[in-house]
C-alpha cells in the first residue's frame, strides 16, 4: 500500500515535471518570480515569529507587498498563458501594462503605509 502510494507519487512527480517542462520560458520566469515573492514573504513571517511584530505596519506592508506581488504575477501569468482560451483577445502587452499599473498602485500604497 505504502509502496504503491510512493510509486504513484513518483509517477506523479515525473509527469508533473514533464508537463511543466513544456511550459513556455516566459511563464517559467513568472513562476520563478512568484516563488521568490512567496519565499520572501515566508522569511518575513518567520522573522516576525522570532523577533516580534512591533512596527506592525512595517511587517504588514512587507508581507503584503510580497503577497501582492505574487498575486499580481499570478494574474499576469493567467492572462498571458496561451492555453487560457478566455484571454485569447487580450494582448500580452495590454496584460503587462495592467500588471505594471496595478503594481504601481500597490507599491504606492505600501510606501504610504510603511510609515
Amino acid at each position: 500500500m505504502v509502496k504503491s502510494t510512493s510509486k504513484d507519487a513518483q509517477d506523479l512527480f515525473r509527469s508533473l515535471r514533464s508537463a511543466y517542462s513544456a511550459t513556455p520560458t516566459n511563464l517559467k520566469i513568472i513562476d520563478l518570480y512568484v516563488v521568490f515573492a512567496v519565499f520572501t514573504a515566508l522569511i518575513q513571517v518567520a522573522y516576525m515569529a522570532l523577533v516580534g511584530s512591533f512596527p506592525f505596519n512595517s511587517f504588514l506592508s512587507g508581507v503584503l507587498s510580497c503577497i501582492g506581488t505574487a498575486v499580481l504575477a499570478v494574474c499576469l501569468r493567467i492572462q498571458v498563458n496561451k492555453e487560457n482560451k478566455e484571454f485569447k483577445d487580450l494582448a500580452p502587452e495590454r496584460a503587462f501594462a495592467d500588471f505594471v499599473l496595478c503594481n504601481l498602485v500597490l507599491h504606492l500604497v505600501i510606501i504610504n503605509f510603511l510609515g
Binding site: L12, S15, L16, F56, L106, V109
Partner: protein, 779 residues
C-alpha cells in the same frame, strides 16, 4: 441592446444602434436630473439647511477641513466635545464624506465659483445620488443588459429608502457610501466579466473610497468572499474569478489599513477574516485547476488525493489559527454592531446604547412597503429572471439581495443597503417583462399582417403549451410596475421591439403571448409604475424632507413653524461664555457644538458609554445629586428638549427610559423599576416619586402649569403628576418660544454661612418632600 446582437452589420442596424446609444445617454442624464431634483423638496419646502444630528458634525468637520487644510484635519484634537476627555477627530471619523465635500468646495472655489461650505454640504447628497443611479445602470448592464440597467437606474433614482438618507441637507456618510457601494460592486462584476487587471485595480480603489466613507464597507468585504465561495462550490471557478478576487483582497486590505479609523482592524478583527479565508481557498482551488490543466486525467486522479488532502490540511491549520485568534481577542473579535447583525438580540441584551438608537431597531413590515414600495413584489420576479440563465454576475446579484434582505431585517438602517439590490432586481424583472410583452405584441401584429393563416396556425399551436407560462407571466405582470413617464416608456417598448426583427423566428415564438394579455399586462405595468412614482414623490415631499431642526405643522389657521432649536442654540452662542460647558442628552451634542459652538459633555458619537451613563444618571437623579454630578463635570448649563406644550413626540421625556437604562448599566443605584409604575412609564399623578423627583422631570415641567393652568402634556396626553414645584439648584435662564428647548443654569454653590445654609436646607427639604404643594415656602 438587441441591436448589438445583430449578426448583419447593415446600415439600418448600425443606425439603430447609434440611435439607441444616444437615447440611452439622454435617458441617463434625465435620470440623473430626476435623482437630483426629487431630493430638493427639503430645500424648497423648508430652506437650504443641514438636517438632523450627525450631518451637523460632518458639516463642522468640513468647515474645519476647508479652513485649516488636510494635515490639520488628520491631527485635529477636538476639545469642544466629550468634555473633559476630548476627541481625536482625525483618527475616529470616516473621512470620505468630508474629504469629498471639501474637495468639491475647493475645486469650485478655485474655479472662482464662490459657494459657501454649507451649500456644498447641502447638495453633496443629491449629486451623489445621481452618481449612484448611474452606477446602478452600469452594474445592472453588466448583469442583464442595458434595458434592465436603465430601468434599475430609474428605480434607484427615486427609491424612498435611499431618498430618506440623501435629501438635500442630509449630509451623512450614507450619502456618498451608497454610490461607493454600488460602484464597487459594478467594478467587481466588470472585473469578473472581463478578467482585466485594470478593472481589478479600479475595484480596489473604489473599495478604498467605500472604506473611507462608511462602516458598512464590511458588507462588501464579506459579500464578495461569499460570492467567490459560492462560485467555487458550484463549480464555476474561472481564472477571471481569481483576477477579480485575489488582488482585491491584498490591495483592499492595505488600502483599508490606510484609513486611520480602520487601521489595523483591517487585519485584526474577524469581520475581515472571511476574506482571508476565502483568499486561501481560492489559491488552493486555483492550484488544483492548474494542475488539472497540465496533467492527464489519470494522473490527475492520483494528484487529487495528494494535493487536495494537503490543501485541506493547510486550510484546517489556518482555520484553527483564526479560531484561536478570534477566541483570544475580547468580544471574540467582533464589534458590537456587527455582533448585533448576526444575533439580533445581542444589542438589546448587552449594549443599551446601540439598542437605544431608533435606526438600530429591527424594522416593521409597513416600513418595507414605505421604503421600497412595489419593488418588494418585483424582487422575486427579478430573482427568477436572474436564474435564466445563471451567470457569475447574476448569481452575485442574487446573493446580494438575499444577504441584504437578511440584514435589513435586523437593523432598519440597513434597509439602505437593500434598496439598491431591490432596484436592480426590479429593473431586471421589468425589463424582462417588457421584453416578453412587447415582443409578443410585435410578433402578433407582424404575423397578422404578413401571412394570416400561417401565423395563426403557429400561434394557436404555440399557445396551447404556453398557456401556463402566459398565465404566470400575466399574473406577474399585474404586480409588475412600470416606473417611468410615458416618454421613457415609449423608448422601452421600442427597444425590445427591435429584438424580434433580428432574432430567429423559432426563438421568438417561444416568447409569444396572446395579444390582448400582453396589452393588458403592459397597461397594468404602466399604471402600477405611475403608482410607484406617486408614492416616491409623496415620500420625498412629505415623509423624508423634514430637516428636524425646523418643524412645521399644518393646522386650521395655517402653517406653524417651530424654529425653537436654532433659536435656543443662537441664544447659547450669544449669551454664554465661549468656554462654558453645556450638558444635554447625547442626541443634541453635535448640534450644540456645531450651531452654538459650546463645549458639550457627550455627543452622538457615543464612543464612551461611561460618560453617557454619567449624564444619564444625572438626569435620572434628584436635583441635588444631579447638581453634584454636573458640577463635578464643570457644567454651566443644562439643556433639555421638551415637547409637551406643542406635542413634539421625540423629546427628552420620551427618551428618558433610555437614560435610566444606560445610566443604570454603569451606576447600579439607578434602577429602571423605580421609574415605572406596574411596568408602565407614566408621568401623571400615578407616577412613582422617584420619577416625579428626578431632574429630567423637573427641568421639563418646571413652570409648565403656568401655561394653561392644568399642566396638560400633549405628547403623553395626560395631566402631569406634580405641578407646582421650585428648583433649588438650577435656575431657568431660557425657554424657547414654543417651550421646545429649555436651558437651565446651575446655581453657584451657596456661601457656607452656617445659619443661612441651615435655614435654606430646611426649606429645601420641605419644598421637595411636600407632594401636594399647597403652601410653597418660596412664594
Amino acid at each position: 441592446m438587441a441591436a448589438l446582437e445583430s449578426p448583419q452589420p447593415g446600415t439600418p442596424t448600425a443606425m439603430r444602434n447609434a440611435f439607441g446609444n444616444v437615447l440611452s445617454v439622454l435617458i441617463l442624464v434625465l435620470i440623473g436630473v430626476l435623482a437630483f431634483s426629487i431630493r430638493l423638496f427639503s430645500v424648497i419646502k423648508y430652506e437650504s439647511v443641514i438636517h438632523e444630528f450627525d450631518p451637523y458634525f460632518n458639516y463642522r468637520v468640513t468647515q474645519f477641513l476647508s479652513k485649516n487644510g488636510i494635515y490639520e484635519f488628520w491631527n485635529w484634537f477636538d476639545d469642544r466635545t466629550w468634555y473633559p476627555l476630548g476627541r481625536v477627530i482625525g483618527g475616529t471619523v470616516y473621512p470620505g464624506l468630508t474629504l469629498t465635500a471639501g474637495t468639491i468646495w475647493w475645486v469650485l472655489n478655485s474655479l472662482n465659483i464662490p459657494l459657501s461650505v454649507e451649500t456644498v454640504c447641502v447638495f453633496t447628497a443629491p449629486v451623489f445620488s445621481a452618481f449612484a443611479s448611474w452606477a446602478t445602470y452600469l452594474l445592472t448592464k453588466e448583469v442583464k443588459g442595458s434595458g434592465a440597467g436603465l430601468a434599475a437606474a430609474a428605480l434607484l433614482a427615486m427609491v424612498p429608502s435611499y431618498i430618506s438618507r440623501s435629501v438635500a441637507g442630509s449630509y451623512d456618510n450614507e450619502a456618498v457610501a451608497i454610490f461607493a457601494l454600488i460602484f464597487t460592486f459594478y467594478l467587481y462584476i466588470k472585473t469578473l466579466n472581463t478578467g482585466s487587471l485594470f478593472y481589478a485595480t479600479l475595484n480596489a480603489l473604489a473599495y478604498f473610497y467605500m472604506v473611507c466613507s462608511w462602516g458598512g464597507y464590511t458588507f462588501i468585504i464579506n459579500l464578495i468572499p461569499m460570492h467567490v465561495l459560492l462560485c467555487i462550490v458550484t463549480g464555476r471557478y474561472s481564472p477571471r474569478l481569481y483576477i477579480a478576487y485575489a488582488p482585491l483582497v491584498v490591495l483592499g486590505t492595505l488600502l483599508a489599513a490606510l484609513v486611520p479609523v480602520v487601521g489595523f482592524n483591517a487585519v485584526l478583527t474577524s469581520e475581515h477574516f472571511a476574506s482571508f479565508l476565502v483568499f486561501i481557498i481560492i489559491h488552493v482551488v486555483a492550484l488544483v485547476y492548474y494542475i488539472k490543466g497540465i496533467l492527464s486525467p489519470k494522473m490527475f486522479k492520483v494528484a487529487v488525493t495528494l494535493v487536495v488532502s494537503i490543501g485541506m490540511v493547510v486550510c484546517f491549520i489556518v482555520v484553527a489559527i483564526l479560531v484561536a485568534l478570534v477566541a483570544s481577542s475580547p468580544t471574540g473579535g467582533w464589534s458590537g454592531r456587527s455582533l448585533s447583525l448576526l444575533d439580533p438580540t445581542y444589542a438589546s441584551k448587552y449594549i443599551p446604547i446601540i439598542a437605544s438608537v431608533s435606526e438600530h431597531q429591527p424594522p416593521t413590515w409597513p416600513s418595507y412597503f414605505m421604503d421600497i414600495n412595489v419593488l418588494a413584489f418585483l424582487v422575486p420576479a427579478g430573482i427568477i429572471a436572474c436564474f435564466s440563465p445563471l451567470s457569475d454576475a447574476s448569481s452575485f446579484v442574487v446573493l446580494y439581495i438575499v444577504m441584504s434582505v437578511y440584514f435589513s431585517g435586523v437593523m432598519v438602517r440597513l434597509m439602505l443597503v437593500l434598496a439598491p439590490a431591490a432596484c436592480i432586481m426590479s429593473g431586471i424583472a421589468l425589463s424582462q417583462a417588457f421584453d416578453v410583452f412587447t415582443g409578443s405584441i410585435k410578433y402578433q401584429l407582424g404575423a397578422s399582417s404578413n401571412s394570416t393563416d400561417d401565423a395563426e396556425d403557429n400561434t394557436s399551436t404555440n399557445n396551447a403549451p404556453k398557456d401556463d407560462a402566459s398565465a404566470g407571466k400575466t399574473d406577474k405582470g399585474e404586480e409588475i410596475v412600470k416606473e417611468r413617464s410615458s416618454k421613457k416608456g415609449k423608448k422601452k417598448e421600442r427597444e425590445p421591439a427591435d429584438k424580434p426583427s433580428v432574432k430567429s423566428k423559432i426563438k421568438k415564438k417561444a416568447l409569444v403571448l396572446p395579444l390582448e394579455a400582453s396589452i393588458v399586462a403592459l397597461l397594468l405595468l404602466i399604471m402600477l409604475g405611475a403608482f410607484y412614482v406617486i408614492h416616491c414623490v409623496w415620500a420625498a415631499a412629505e415623509a423624508y424632507s423634514a430637516p428636524s431642526i425646523v418643524l412645521t405643522s399644518q393646522s386650521r389657521d395655517g402653517l406653524h413653524v417651530f424654529d425653537d432649536f436654532r433659536e435656543s442654540y443662537a441664544w447659547l452662542s450669544h449669551n454664554t461664555d465661549v468656554d462654558d460647558k453645556v450638558a444635554s442628552w447625547w442626541d443634541y451634542g453635535y448640534q450644540t457644538t456645531a450651531m452654538a459652538n459650546r463645549t458639550v459633555i457627550v455627543d452622538n458619537n457615543t464612543w464612551n458609554n461611561t460618560h453617557i451613563a454619567t449624564v444619564g444618571t444625572a438626569m435620572s437623579s434628584p436635583e441635588k445629586a444631579a447638581w453634584e454630578i454636573f458640577n463635578s463635570l464643570d457644567v454651566k448649563y443644562v439643556l433639555v428638549v421638551f415637547g409637551g406644550l406643542i406635542g413634539y413626540p421625540s423629546d427628552d421625556i420620551n427618551k428618558f427610559l433610555w437614560m435610566v437604562r444606560i445610566g443604570g448599566g454603569v451606576f447600579p443605584h439607578i434602577k429602571e423599576a423605580d421609574y415605572l409604575r406596574d411596568g408602565q412609564y407614566r408621568i401623571d399623578s400615578e407616577a412613582t416619586p422617584t420619577m416625579l423627583n428626578c431632574l429630567m422631570y423637573k427641568l421639563s415641567y418646571y413652570r409648565f402649569v403656568e401655561t394653561d393652568g392644568k399642566g396638560y402634556d400633549r405628547v403623553r396626553r395626560t395631566e402631569i403628576g406634580k405641578k407646582n414645584f421650585k428648583l433649588t439648584h438650577f435656575e431657568e435662564v431660557f425657554t424657547s418660544h414654543h417651550w421646545m428647548v429649555r436651558i437651565y443654569k446651575l446655581k453657584p454653590p451657596r456661601n457656607r454661612i452656617r445659619g443661612r445654609t441651615k435655614k435654606l436646607k430646611s426649606k429645601t427639604s420641605s419644598g421637595l418632600s411636600s407632594k401636594s404643594v399647597k403652601k410653597n415656602p418660596w412664594i
